[in-house]
Amino acid sequence: MTHRFRDLLALEPLNADELTFLLDQSKSFQEIQRHPLKKLAVLRGKTIALAFFETSTRTRISFGTAASRLGADTMNLQAEASSLKKGESLLDTVHTLDAMKPDCLVMRHGASGAPEFVARHLEIPVINAGDGTHEHPSQGLLDALTIRDRKGTIENLNITILGDIKHSRVARSNIHLLSKFGCKFTLCGPAMWVPRELENIGPEGARIRRVFRIEEALEGADVVLALRVQNERLHEPALSLNDYILLYQLSAERMRHAKRDAIVLHPGPLNRGIEITPEVADSAQSCVLEQVTNGIAVRMALLFLLAAGGSDDDKQAAGEADANPLRNRRSTDSKDAGAQKDVKDP
């Protein structure tokens, strides 16, 4: 199977086959992480632009490491150092980066939809490394890879997500991916952070419910995803940490409501003693460090798939373009939008 992606902007539009393909591709790069010599040459001569318009350490290092292990060079743009502060528009900034001829743009941005907006204006592939409160596709993939390794499958599992789900791009990417494999979601947290609309964001037939009591939410869980309670970014509304800990901290005692072989995921960085107790974070059930390792494998797979290709013409000659849902969506861009966006009378 040849790959059919041009950009990776979100997991929502991808179907189960496409997602499985991405996870299978990542599998081969997992091996390399265990090898004493980790550097490949498959992207030698290629340049990956890492544009982080929002502070990030882990994801930026993970993508950077993935690029270098594939033999690619990177160029880095960080918000603090950028000209955005000088009033340059996002579009001008990425066009400037693009003029330095990278082969792929990895981008994080605080505004939901910003990578999609940028992708409409660039020829090179764009990988979303987290946009606002929308999606974090590589995190969703690495979580699924971790679950598949531990549970042997990602089908029909009970997944419980804890925390500020309304503002979580990690939660959305997980829901969009795992729902397509029949997983059932239980969302749990303070009611203001778990609005009822979340029950309907998944694909047709997705099973997503809200529960406000953590013990009930953990009942029968195969996978528990604890989200970071962020101090640096605003939860709206803010909530007393004491209340959060009282009601929703993931403790060993509460974990007893989950299945005995349940696993715990956390996108990091951990706030030990807030959303998760050290005991749970360091338990055998915790997959936190595997997630980090798998993150590099997933990102190597994505960079390999998206940046290794030849020119667009080559891809089109290979007949890939028409099969690529993302490419097709991009090509519709502005022209047909008005005509397509019509409300059907019920």
């Binding site: 996002l90 939901s112 939809g113 907006f117 503002h167 964001i201 008005g338 966006k341 409300v343 019920p346």
Partner: protein, 429 residues
């Protein structure tokens, strides 16, 4: 002199729907009579406008527009905006005061009137700010602005800040016999929001404002209209709950009216896909709100269709969705969308459609609008079946922010006559 022949006259003021000829003499309508029965001898020398197969209606009014002059001439000017209005069939437009500087005093009003006289294609009726700088602190010099030509007051772009000031403005405007046009929005509920709250905003991860952000403010305003007896007009009403407030107010006999925009009865929140051409305030609403608006347009609760024409130059709109300003173009798609969504679907009659663009807004503004001898020679001539596709690149507007670019339509304005002069005529004529 212009003799409009062979057309189908639709005149809501007299409930006339008949084949009639209309003779314009200078700035006034001279005569309206059965085909071939114009009596004035002078008609023999008149320029003939053949309106065969077309609707001849009183001049359309767009009572909610932004012309951006003074201050934001990169986005629009009175000249370019009114050229676009003329193409949309509008013979008069009411421009909102949120210019730079704000139209909160008579010299700004006079500037707009002067620029309109010098450059405008259609009539420009300014709306003055309710409060100084639209800041919601002190009442603006409304009487002086009225003398200079304003037809209403509004702090549009936001609501009049406090209930107390709204009440005072209403009291004052009642004594001046001016309508208060309210952009009803609870700014605390709407803070930071870029679209309507719902499944779509949750899926997209965009901050949403609930429908209640509008309807709680409409409730406040309706209560104050009852307290003061003022004429209250709710701008760009978008939510079912707001419409119910207006319906209640009307049933109580209050002087409360409302307008609806074509984009709110055409599109819904599900159409927003990180495309800033779909970003406006109030934002595109839920499917059930759209249904409610369609019902309100049909049952008479809605008084006017207004486009809220809000041009923004491309550099302002071509940014992240969160950062883009609110507002879309409206003039050139307003009638076509109304035909498409309301008339061709059988939801309202053609007469009702004409009412929503003519006598409806005129009544809100305390004016008459009729195709009758002695009335101003403002006429809108349109087709209900001409097939065309909107291409925003052809617009005389300085901006391009329309979600309806490349949409196909049946029906379009064919000619716009203002004060007896053809302000614009369709290229097919």
């Amino acid at each position: 002199m212009i003799l409009i022949k062979n057309g189908r006259v639709l005149n809501p003021a007299t409930n006339t729907d008949a084949a009639m000829d209309v003779l314009l003499d200078g700035e006034r309508i001279a005569e309206v009579a059965a085909p071939g029965k114009i009596s004035a001898a002078a008609a023999r020398d008149a320029e003939i406008f053949d309106a065969a197969g077309l609707i001849v209606a009183p001049g359309f009014i767009d009572m909610h527009v932004h012309l951006r002059e003074p201050g934001q001439e990169n986005s629009e000017t009175i000249e370019t905006g009114t050229r676009s209005a003329a193409r949309g069939g509008f013979t008069a437009v009411c421009c909102m005061p949120n210019t730079k500087p704000v139209n909160d005093n008579a010299s700004v009003t006079r500037f707009i009137m002067d620029r309109a006289r010098a450059t405008a294609s259609v009539r420009v009726w300014p709306i003055g700010a309710a409060s100084v700088g639209s800041k919601g602190e002190a009442i603006a010099e409304i009487a002086a602005m009225k003398q200079a030509g304003i037809v209403a007051v509004s702090d549009d772009g936001k609501p009049i800040a406090t209930a107390k000031l709204t009440r005072q403005v209403m009291d004052y405007c009642r004594s001046l016999d001016l309508p208060v046009i309210e952009h009803s929005e609870d700014v605390s509920l709407a803070a930071g929001a870029v679209m309507r709250e719902g499944v779509s905003s949750t899926r997209l991860g965009l901050a949403g404002m609930p429908a209640a952000a509008e309807s709680v403010c409409v409730a406040r305003d309706v209560q104050l209209a009852e307290l003061t007896g003022a004429r209250l007009h709710i701008a760009h009403l978008s939510a079912r709950g707001s419409l119910e407030q207006v319906r209640w107010a009307k049933s109580r006999g209050l002087k409360v009216s409302c307008e609806v925009t074509p984009h709110h009865f055409t599109l819904i929140d599900e159409d927003v896909q990180y495309d800033s051409r779909f970003k406006m305030n109030p934002p595109l609403a839920a499917r059930e709100d759209r249904e409610a608006l369609l019902a309100g347009l049909a049952d008479g609760t809605v008084d006017a269709i207004a486009t809220d024409h809000a041009p923004h130059e491309p550099a302002l709109k071509d940014v992240e969705f969160d950062r883009a300003p609110f507002g879309i173009l409206g003039f050139e798609t307003g009638l076509a969308l109304s035909l498409q969504q309301l008339v061709h679907t059988g939801k309202i009659s053609l007469m009702r459609l004409v009412e929503l663009f003519t006598t409806g807004p005129a009544r809100v503004l305390g004016m008459e609008r009729s195709l009758a001898a002695g009335q101003p020679a403002d006429v809108t001539i349109f087709s209900t079946d001409y097939s065309w596709t909107y291409d925003v690149k052809d617009s005389p507007s300085k901006s391009r922010n329309s979600p309806f670019d490349h949409r196909a339509f049946q029906g379009t304005p064919m000619a716009t006559i203002v004060a007896g002069r053809v302000a614009w005529k369709h290229s097919s004529l």
